[in-house]
Symmetry: C2
Subunit: 191 residues, 2 copies
DNA sequence: CGCGCGATTGAGTAATTTCAAATCTAGTGG
DNA sequence: CCACTAGATTTGAAATTACTCAATCGCGCG
């Protein structure tokens, strides 16, 4: 499916736009392609775009001073990714985004998003709902992180994204679950 | 300050409504008062309101099967609270809300929120930004929980809400930080 | 004064991390 | 087709950290 159609169907789940409105909306997105391993947003960058994933998988993550990685999100097609804190506050990125596989995505600047939200009520509605879903997901993740053990969180992750297991290195899955790769490994052999 | 003025100023930070629009908006809120310890949303309840805190402090939390408590949020005046997952999905509450102090708040049903968002573009804009802020805060919390130790998280919490220390029992602060009350206590004496 | 609740302290235990070594795997070039 | 290498994964063992459970402390209130 082409980029335009994918985005159109994604919007259609929440709002209905006329063809003209959607064409106008779509005209603000820039397509980009990246190779596996490429960095889209690096720590310290200025951030003025958010990204709609068309193909492939990116991760959003934070590196601590002692180079430990913590992964906030794996973003698959039709998911959005950025450092939203940096994007909305104007501060430099502390959350990075890079490519787990070759990736195609659409880029939307924050200025254009705000303009579109002002101009088209339905677009504002769409972005409210998108953020709602993200907010609820983040709270679920918080609870799961605080109240259940790594084994349970691992099963939950695989239930949500069965594909991940195939192409994401285990140390990155561990960085998402919040345990060391050794502990993750031990959860699934012996004990 | 009275309820109406507090909500008006809260909105004014994000959007500008005419007096008539605001009066209409405000007419959908129900004021309620609760005593310290009262439960506003209990596990298993149907949820159809969200709450704007006018006075006092509520907490949103989850109880596990073995009765361990994990606190998602302390909500002070001008903060919003609810089980947003239940509110948006129609499922029963898994997150409870109760009162740490005597509390006054305004209640808005989900149906009314959606109606107001449809009718007044600026209201939709307001709620998008409110959720944005919540989303960013939840992500910061996730990172802080994964990448920094309890001592650091405690200092962060006190920097954000210096008042909390005075009226929130330490075991609830521990439940927010994700450690046992004994561990929290040890962080601040001996070692 | 004594009761009761929250907070602290101590001791033993369980879980996770760290560091190091061993093993496995996919891709490369001979 | 096989040997080789780099990276990823697993395993082992010691050390650290946080937890649990129990006992004690401190303070406000009847």
């Amino acid at each position: 499916m082409d980029a335009k159609e994918l985005l159109k169907q994604h919007l259609a789940k929440t709002v209905s736009l006329s063809d003209d409105e959607f064409d106008y909306f779509f005209s603000h997105f820039q397509p980009h392609a990246y190779k596996k391993g490429q960095v889209i947003i690096g720590a310290g960058d200025k951030v003025d775009c958010e990204y709609f994933v068309l193909e492939g998988c990116v991760k959003t993550f934070h590196l601590t001073d002692d180079l430990k990685m913590f992964i906030l999100q794996f973003a698959m097609p039709t998911w959005w990714a950025s450092d939203y804190n940096a994007l909305y506050s104007g501060q430099r990125a502390t959350v990075s985004v890079d490519c787990i596989t070759d990736v195609e995505l659409l880029c939307l600047t924050s200025a254009d998003r705000e303009k579109l939200c002002r101009e088209i009520h339905a677009v504002e509605h769409f972005f409210r709902w998108r953020t709602n879903k993200g907010f609820v997901a983040a709270h679920k993740r918080l609870l799961s992180l605080m109240s259940t053990d790594a084994k349970h969180r691992y099963e939950e992750l695989l239930r949500q994204y069965p594909q991940l297991y195939n192409f994401v290195p285990k140390n990155q899955i561990a960085a998402y679950l919040g345990v060391s790769r050794e502990t993750l490994s031990r959860l699934y052999h012996a004990r």
